[in-house]
C-alpha cells in the first residue's frame, strides 16, 4: 500500500513540476519584460525630468492656470507627477507584454477589455482636469470678490465654491468610469441638495437677522462714506 501511495505522490509531484516547468518560460519572460520596462521607464523619466526642469515646468504650469495640479502632485511638483505617470505607464505596458507570454487568448481578451474601457478613463480624466481648473478659477474669483467686499468669511466662501465644483466633477468622473452607479448619483444628490438647502435655511431663517444687520451696516457705511469723505480716485 505504501508503494501505491508513494507512486501517486510521485506522479502528482511530476505533474506539478512539469506544470511549473511549462510556466517557467512565461515567468522568465514576465520578469525580463518587467526588468526591461523598468529600465525604459527609468530612462524615460530621467530624460523627461531633465527636460521639464530645464523649461521650469512647475512654474509654467501655475502660470497657465493649472495651479491645482501642483496640489495633487507628489511634493507639490507637477514635474514629478508627469515623470511618475510616464514611468508607471511604461511599466504597465511592460507588464502587459510579459503577461502575454502566458496565454495569448487570455491576454488578448484582457487587452481588448482594457482598450474598450480606455475612452471612459480618458473622459473621466478630462472631466476631472476641467473640474479642477474651473473650481480653482471660481474659488479665486469668489475669494478676491469677497475680500474686496470686506467679507470676513471670504476664505470659507471660496473653499465652499471650490469643493462644490470639485464634488460635482468627481461625481461626473465616477459616472464615466461606471463606478458606484446609482449610489454615486444618490449620494451626490443628497450631498449637493443638502448643502444648498443648508445654505438657504441658514440665510433664510437662522441668519436672517444677522444677514440683514450685516447688509444694513454695509449700506450705511457706504452711504455715510460717500457723504462724508472727500475722496476721489481719478
Amino acid at each position: 500500500m505504501w508503494d501505491q501511495v508513494g507512486q501517486a505522490l510521485n506522479q502528482s509531484m511530476n505533474r506539478m513540476l512539469s506544470q511549473m516547468a511549462s510556466l517557467l518560460p512565461g515567468v522568465v519572460a514576465l520578469i525580463a519584460a518587467l526588468l526591461v520596462s523598468t529600465l525604459v521607464a527609468w530612462v524615460l523619466a530621467a530624460i523627461l525630468r531633465r527636460s521639464l526642469t530645464s523649461i521650469d515646468f512647475d512654474r509654467r504650469v501655475a502660470q497657465w492656470g493649472f495651479s491645482a495640479l501642483a496640489e495633487w502632485s507628489p511634493s507639490k511638483s507637477p514635474t514629478r507627477l508627469v515623470t511618475r505617470a510616464v514611468a508607471w505607464t511604461a511599466m504597465l505596458i511592460g507588464f502587459l507584454i510579459g503577461i502575454s507570454a502566458f496565454d495569448v487568448a487570455l491576454t488578448s481578451q484582457f487587452v481588448i477589455r482594457l482598450f474598450a474601457y480606455l475612452p471612459n478613463v480618458l473622459a473621466a480624466v478630462v472631466v476631472l482636469a476641467a473640474g479642477s481648473i474651473v473650481a480653482g478659477f471660481l474659488a479665486r474669483s469668489v475669494l478676491i470678490g469677497a475680500v474686496n467686499m470686506n467679507l470676513q468669511y471670504a476664505r470659507l466662501l471660496s473653499a465652499g465654491v471650490k469643493w462644490l465644483v470639485t464634488v460635482l466633477a468627481v461625481a461626473m468622473a465616477l459616472e464615466h468610469l461606471s463606478i458606484g452607479g446609482g449610489i454615486i448619483r444618490l449620494a451626490f444628490g443628497i450631498l449637493f441638495g443638502g448643502i444648498v438647502l443648508a445654505l438657504a435655511l441658514a440665510v433664510g431663517l437662522g441668519s436672517k437677522e444677522l444677514v440683514s444687520r450685516s447688509l444694513d451696516r454695509e449700506a450705511s457705511k457706504t452711504s455715510s462714506q460717500n457723504m462724508q469723505e472727500p475722496v476721489g480716485h481719478l
Binding site: V147, N150, Q225, N226, M227, P230, G232, H233
Partner: protein, 430 residues
C-alpha cells in the same frame, strides 16, 4: 470707425473744412446740457480773434441735445444739426454722439466716445482737437480755450490737464498713474490719463493710425495711450491749469472694477511701449500754461480704520494670489505692515512702487487671469490710501506736494528693478 456720413463730410468740406473738433463727453449728461454750445462758442470766440481769421469748429456732444436722436440700428452715426454761424468769425457744426450701450461701464464708455471724436477729427483733417470728459458742471469756457490754444497756436501736440484738488482727491493719479508715467516716460504730468485733453492734428492722426492698424490683442484705449504715444513719438507735451474738477462720489463697492478698468489699459500700454520707456532715465517738468487756483477747504474725514481693515483682510486671505505676483520679500514686508497698529501704519514708498511694478509685470506675463490680478490689487491700494491719509492728515499744500514728489522719486529709483524684472523675469526674482 465710420462716425460721420459722407454727405455730412462733404457738407463741411464745402463750407471750407474744419479747423477744430471739440468733444464734450459729460459722464453724467444732465438738463444743463443745452448750455454746451454757448460755452464752446464763448471759448472759441477768443480763439478765433487770436487766429485773426474765420474759424470752423465741429462740436460733438454725448448728451443727445444737438440734432435729432440717433436711430437705434445706425447707432454709430452722428446726427447733424444746421451749421450755426455768427457772421465772419466762427462757424459751429454741432452733432450728437450716439448713446452708449446699456452694458457699457464708465471707463469703456469714455474710451468709445473718445474714439468717435478722434475719428471725426482725423477724417476732417483738423488742426487741433479738444476733448472734455469731466463733469459738465465744473467746466468753464476757459477749460476749452486752455486745452486747445497751446495745440492750435503754440505748436504743442498734447495738452494735458492740471487740476486744483483736495488732498484726498485724484488718489489713483497720485499713487499710480502720475508717478508711473513720470518714471516710465520721463515727463512730469499730473494727469497722464486726462480725461480732458487738447491734441494737435499730428497726434490725432497718429492716435487713429495706430488704432486702425493691426492690433495685438486688446483694443487701444485712447485715454491711456495718448500721453505715452506723444512722448515715444517725440511730440511736444505741455500742461494747462484748468481749475477745480468735481467728481461723482466714490463707489466703494465697485472700487475693484474701477481699478481694473483704469490699470488694465495702462499696463497694456506699458507692454506696447516697452522698447521706448526702457531707454528713458530721470524725468523733466513739462511747460505749463495758466495759473493754479486755490483749492477750497477740505471738508469731511476719511474712515482710515476701515481701509486698514480691508488691507489686513487682504493680507490674511490673498497670500496665495499675491504670492504668484509679488516676490517673497515684498510679501514679508506686507505681513509686517499688516501687524502695525493704526497710528504707525505707513506703507513705504519704495514698497508701493515695487508692488505696482510687480503687478504690471504679472499683467504682462499673465501670471494669473488678468482680471483677477487687477482686482487683487484693491486691498493694497486701500492700504496705500490709509497710509497716505494718515501722513497728510494735518499737512498743507506744500507738504502734500513734497509727499507726492517723494513717492514719484521712489518710482524713479525703482525703475531699475522694473527694467531688470521686465527683461529677465525668470532670473531676477529677489
Amino acid at each position: 470707425m465710420d462716425a460721420v456720413s459722407q454727405p455730412e463730410l462733404e457738407r463741411i468740406e464745402r463750407a471750407g473744412g474744419a479747423d477744430l473738433v471739440v468733444g464734450i463727453l459729460d459722464p453724467e449728461p444732465d438738463d444743463q446740457a443745452g448750455a454746451t454750445i454757448p460755452m464752446v462758442r464763448a471759448a472759441l470766440a477768443e480763439l478765433s480773434v487770436e487766429l485773426n481769421r474765420t474759424a470752423r469748429v465741429v462740436v460733438l456732444c454725448n448728451n443727445g441735445t444737438h440734432g435729432p436722436a440717433a436711430p437705434a440700428p445706425d447707432a454709430d452715426r452722428l446726427q447733424p444739426a444746421a451749421p450755426d454761424g455768427d457772421g465772419q468769425s466762427l462757424t459751429v457744426f454741432s452733432y450728437s454722439l450716439p448713446a452708449p450701450g446699456p452694458a457699457e461701464t464708465p471707463q469703456p464708455k469714455v474710451s468709445h466716445a473718445y474714439r468717435s471724436v478722434l475719428a471725426v477729427g482725423r477724417k476732417l483733417g483738423v488742426r487741433a482737437c479738444g476733448v472734455i470728459a469731466s463733469q459738465r458742471r465744473a467746466v468753464t469756457p476757459q477749460w476749452i480755450y486752455r486745452l486747445v490754444q497751446p495745440a492750435l497756436e503754440l505748436g504743442f501736440d498734447l495738452v494735458a490737464p492740471r487740476y486744483t484738488r483736495h488732498k484726498l482727491e485724484g488718489l489713483l493719479n497720485k499713487s499710480v498713474l502720475s508717478p508711473l508715467h513720470r518714471a516710465l516716460y520721463g515727463e512730469q504730468l499730473q494727469n497722464p490719463m486726462g480725461p480732458d485733453f487738447g491734441l494737435s492734428g499730428k497726434l490725432l492722426q497718429r492716435a487713429m493710425g495706430q488704432d486702425s492698424g493691426p492690433s495685438r490683442g486688446a483694443e487701444n484705449d485712447p485715454v491711456a495711450s495718448l500721453a505715452p504715444m506723444a512722448v515715444c513719438g517725440g511730440l511736444r507735451v505741455c500742461e494747462s491749469h484748468l481749475g477745480v474738477r468735481t467728481q461723482p462720489p466714490t463707489d466703494w463697492m465697485n472700487l475693484s472694477s474701477l481699478l481694473a478698468a483704469v490699470l488694465g489699459p495702462v499696463f497694456l500700454e506699458m507692454e506696447r511701449q516697452a522698447a521706448c520707456w526702457q531707454g528713458i532715465r530721470g524725468s523733466n517738468p513739462v511747460p505749463g500754461f495758466g495759473s493754479p487756483e486755490i483749492a477750497p477747504e477740505d471738508t469731511g474725514t476719511m474712515d482710515v480704520h476701515r481701509m486698514v481693515e480691508s488691507f489686513q483682510l487682504g493680507d490674511q486671505n490673498l497670500q496665495d494670489v499675491w504670492g504668484l505676483i509679488l516676490p517673497p520679500t515684498t510679501l514679508l514686508e506686507l505681513r509686517k505692515l499688516s501687524r502695525l497698529p493704526l497710528d504707525q501704519f505707513r506703507m513705504p514708498d519704495d514698497l508701493w512702487a515695487r508692488i505696482v511694478y510687480d503687478f504690471a509685470l504679472g499683467h504682462r506675463l499673465r501670471t494669473i487671469s488678468r482680471d483677477h490680478l487687477l482686482r487683487s490689487i484693491t486691498p493694497l491700494y486701500l492700504g496705500w490710501i490709509a497710509s497716505y491719509a494718515l501722513e497728510v492728515e494735518t499737512a498743507g499744500p506744500a507738504e502734500i506736494e513734497a509727499r507726492i514728489e517723494r513717492l514719484s522719486r521712489a518710482y524713479e529709483d525703482g525703475k531699475r528693478y522694473l527694467v531688470s524684472r521686465w527683461r529677465w523675469p525668470d532670473r531676477f526674482n529677489p
